[in-house]
């Protein structure tokens, strides 16, 4: 097949080799280092211990069930909010999106304040019954599954909502005209249309829940319930094994294999059903159940979005634990002390510097990758795309272990650079995905028109595509920033004296039992995240940044 496009100008070639070299260094080298160190028969054989088997089963169980729950809940919620005549739709959209804006481990601290052994619910129950066994036990697999699902369902919601927008109204009307009732129509026409999105969403959530460290660390470790990321953490940080790096590498290899398999599966499955049919789908009338459904949604939204933040707020404001909740016992002193503590300040500065660096690097690399992949044809493009996207399927723990192995010989272990590189590796896909759609959305003819006007291809890119794709680059980089500044999983394994990130500071405070400080900081991070991401979402409204497409 001789597709003789116009010859490519040198600028593209140089950019392609540059990007490829950078990605090889940032992605391929660490992954290969991990495989080289971890994929050894004797190490992998060592994995066949009861401890590893148990952690593996626990990982699969918690991430599998939580992904299932999140998918079902997110999809159901999307159908309810997007496709029925439920009132206050925008309010519900925002309220149910909130758990996504709070980092999972922060959310876990908040939920512990509600349902933990000394959380409000159990304390009320204990005071009423005189028991010291709580009503709800958040520790262990149940709590882990619940919280993983809670923090994951907004992704399903967004993917489902996007897929629902793609269901042509005419197809649904055709079903109604053929005699199908409302529910029947949803089952026979609407759902089959969004199944691929649901399946893809499930796999995505499975991998992301498999990767999460914060929730199982906070809710599993206290009851010795280990999953793979926490097991790797206890190998590397807790020193619970003879050859920590070897064991962590072997476990990392296993996680890497699971993540990569899911990535490929998802790529394979995510083929959209398409149709030329058109028209906006009409909302389904809820009829008599409209108000009960609304009340129920409101209650759940309150529980999900408001309760943990409220619990954090009360916990942070209360002068001391156990004192009654009266105005004179409320103080800002705890928050002030926690926020101004030198460790917090250092953690914030580190996280800020790292997040800014990661956002800038990811912005540049991601924009280049997206532009090259969308706008040029070259046999290297596939490799570039895969290199940039595959880390997204890799659990943060894997990224961290890979960078420990890469960083030690490079002499950057125990420095901030190693965290920065790991962040860029882990998050560059966020920018690539945000920008790719945006560049693809700029019709090629716009560039061609510029070329015929006398602009070189690079100039056309600069004058036409770049300005049009710039908001997506900004949004993608902003996402990287907000993800990185509150990150825990990767940095938990990479921090050294002086390079602690904000997430690690909060996590350590919690682990050390300094709940006063960890609660106060969790509150600040949760509110900061809500404000920051909320502002960004408002500023880029309608661009489908968080959308799956």
């Amino acid at each position: 097949m001789g597709e003789s496009y116009q010859p490519e100008p040198g600028g593209f070639r140089a950019a392609r080799y540059l990007v490829l070299a950078v990605l090889l260094g940032l992605v391929a080298v660490p992954v290969l280092a991990l495989l080289w160190r971890g994929a050894r028969p004797e190490l992998l054989a060592g994995l066949n211990s009861p401890q590893v088997r148990e952690a593996t089963v626990n990982s699969l169980v918690t991430s599998g069930i939580s992904a299932l729950v999140a998918t079902a809940f997110g999809a159901g919620l999307a159908l309810l909010i997007e496709r029925t005549d439920v009132p206050a739709r925008n309010f519900f959209r925002a309220a149910f999106f909130l758990p996504f804006l709070i980092p999972p481990f922060i959310g876990a601290i908040g939920w512990l304040a509600v349902f933990g052994p000394v959380g409000y619910v159990n304390v009320l129950y204990n005071n009423a019954t005189g028991s010291s066994e709580g009503l709800v036990n958040l520790y262990g697999p149940g709590g882990i599954i619940a919280l993983l699902a809670l923090h994951a369902y907004p992704i399903t919601y967004l993917m489902t909502a996007a897929a629902l927008r793609g269901v042509p109204g005419s197809l649904e009307e055709a079903a109604r005209a053929s005699g199908a009732g409302r529910l029947r129509m949803v089952r026979d026409v609407t759902l089959p249309y969004i199944y691929p999105a649901l399946l893809a969403g499930f796999i995505l959530l499975f991998v992301s829940n498999l990767s999460d460290f914060g929730i199982p660390a906070l809710l599993g470790l206290p009851v010795q319930y280990q999953v793979l990321p926490t097991l790797i953490y206890s190998y590397l940080v807790g020193g619970t094994t003879e050859n920590p790096l070897g064991a962590a590498s072997a476990l990392g290899t296993v996680l890497l294999a699971v993540g990569a398999a899911a990535f490929l599966l998802q790529r394979h499955l995510f083929r959209r059903v398409s149709s030329d049919a058109e028209g906006r789908a009409q909302p389904v009338a809820l009829g008599r159940s409209r108000y009960p459904v609304t009340a129920m949604l409101g209650a759940v939204a309150f529980l999900f979005a408001v309760a943990p933040v409220l619990a954090l707020l009360v916990g942070a404001l209360l002068r001391a634990p156990g004192v009654p909740l009266t105005p004179e016992n409320l103080t800002l002193a705890n928050i002030e002390r926690a926020v101004l503590a030198p460790a917090t300040v250092r953690g914030f500065v580190n996280s800020f510097v790292l997040a800014t660096g990661a956002a800038l690097l990811c912005g540049v690399i991601g924009a280049l990758v997206a532009t090259l992949v969308v706008r040029t044809r070259n046999r290297l493009n596939g490799s570039i795309d895969t290199l940039a996207l595959i880390p997204q399927a890799l659990p943060g723990t894997v990224v961290a272990v890979a960078w420990i192995l890469t960083g030690i010989p490079l002499g950057i272990y125990n420095t901030r650079s190693i965290i920065l590189f790991a962040y860029v590796m882990a998050f560059v896909a966020l920018v690539v995905q945000a920008v790719r759609g945006s560049v693809a959305g700029v019709p090629v003819v716009l560039e061609e028109a510029a070329q015929l006007s006398g602009a070189s291809p690079l100039r056309a890119l600069r004058d036409v595509t770049l300005p049009l794709a710039a908001p997506a680059v900004v949004v993608g980089s902003g996402l990287v920033f907000f993800t990185a500044i509150r990150e825990l999983t990767v940095s938990a394994l990479l921090v050294a004296p002086g390079t602690e990130t904000l997430g690690v500071v909060i996590f350590n405070l919690h682990q050390a039992g300094a709940f006063n400080a960890s609660t106060a900081l969790a509150l600040v991070v949760a509110l900061g995240g809500l404000l920051g991401v909320g502002a960004m979402a408002l500023a880029t409204r309608g661009r489908g940044v968080y959308g799956a497409d």
Partner: protein
């Protein structure tokens, strides 16, 4: 202004749309339409001129200079062409004036001259005073005029039009078509216009080049194309002719497969005898009462009506006067006034 020449141009293309051995010269100041169904290679030819594709074989010349060929390559930005795309490629992040002045800016034309020429170009397309408007505030037709102004502002060697009216509604399409015709005659620019709409091609072009499966099948003036198609394909595509497999018996007599004979009153070119294809345009068939034909559908078109007649295992489309009345199932006899016979081989 310049001549455009294709010399034995070939380009293989995955999944249709390639071209094979195209030889075509568009004269300086001429308006040539490239007509064909989708996948026929017409857009490929246009993009070869634009420089967005490079031929596997042969050469493309603009103004006598090779711009693409075995040894030559001139990138799109150096070809001095103007182009208007199907989906108005007006840059949404630039104002109307800034869209139109972009080529001038790249050519480093001074500011005051730029302003002057932008104003001229906008007035040429009837958009005086729209300089500071944002493209999203314009209608589809207005955006297409902006694109046209931008294409013309540099006084290009040639104007390339890629289905420029396809995304507009019928009434607007007709008006813009007339405006475009007047405009290009006035400026004298060489135009290559790609379209799958035969009415548009016939109405606008000095000559129409019909493409079929990547090959040029006929290049001719619209009237000749209409009256003397070179192949059955052209006859059907350009004038909606019915194609009948027949054996010519001489003196205007033909036999259908199966032996039934019939007569055609006027055969312009006696292409010989033996097996072949007879093309008959709807307006060259009359219907008389009684006979073997059966009326299957009647479509009222305003000044005429289209009657679909089943006749000896064939379906004929007949253009009948608007005042005649036909009932479904009515027996009619088609009379063939004129036909073009294409002997096999």
């Amino acid at each position: 202004m310049a001549q455009i020449e294709f010399q034995d141009v070939s380009l293989a293309y995955g999944g249709g749309g390639g071209v094979t051995g195209v030889d075509l010269t568009v004269e300086d100041g001429e308006f040539v339409a490239l007509l064909g169904p989708s996948g026929s290679g017409k857009t490929t030819l246009l993009r070869l001129v634009g420089g967005f594709l490079r031929p596997d074989r042969g050469a493309v010349l603009i103004g006598g200079e090779p711009v693409a060929g075995p040894k030559a390559w001139v990138p799109p930005e150096k070809r001095r062409l103007g182009m208007v795309f199907q989906y108005h490629a007006v840059w949404p992040h630039r104002s109307v004036a800034s869209n139109v002045e972009y080529p001038l800016r790249l050519a480093k034309v001074g500011r005051s001259e730029r302003e002057e020429r932008v104003r001229e170009a906008l007035s040429l397309v009837g958009l005086e005073g729209f300089e500071h408007r944002a493209p999203e505030t314009l209608s589809g037709g207005q955006r297409q005029r902006v694109a046209l102004a931008r294409a013309l502002v540099m006084q290009p060697a040639a104007l390339l039009l890629d289905e420029p009216f396809a995304s507009l509604d019928a009434a607007l399409r007709a008006r813009l078509r007339a405006e475009l015709s007047a405009l290009v005659r006035r400026t004298g620019v060489t135009v290559v216009h790609v379209t799958h709409d035969r009415t548009e091609a016939l109405a606008l072009a000095d000559r129409v080049a019909v493409l079929h499966e990547g090959r040029l099948v006929q290049v001719d003036e619209p009237r000749r194309l209409y009256s003397a198609p070179a192949t059955p394909f052209v006859a059907r595509f350009v004038s909606d002719a019915a194609l009948l497999r027949v054996r010519a018996r001489g003196a205007g007599r033909f036999a259908l497969e199966g032996g039934n004979e019939f007569e055609v009153e006027n055969i312009p070119e006696h292409g010989g005898s033996g097996p072949g294809t007879l093309a008959v345009r709807p307006q060259d068939i009359r219907l008389e009462p009684g006979g073997e034909g059966r009326v299957r559908a009647v479509l009222f078109m305003g000044d005429t009506q289209e009657v679909v007649v089943g006749w000896r295992g064939h379906e004929l489309r007949v253009q009948a006067p608007a005042d005649a009345r036909y009932r479904l199932g009515e027996a009619v006899r088609p009379v063939f006034g004129r036909g073009v016979f294409f002997p096999d081989g």
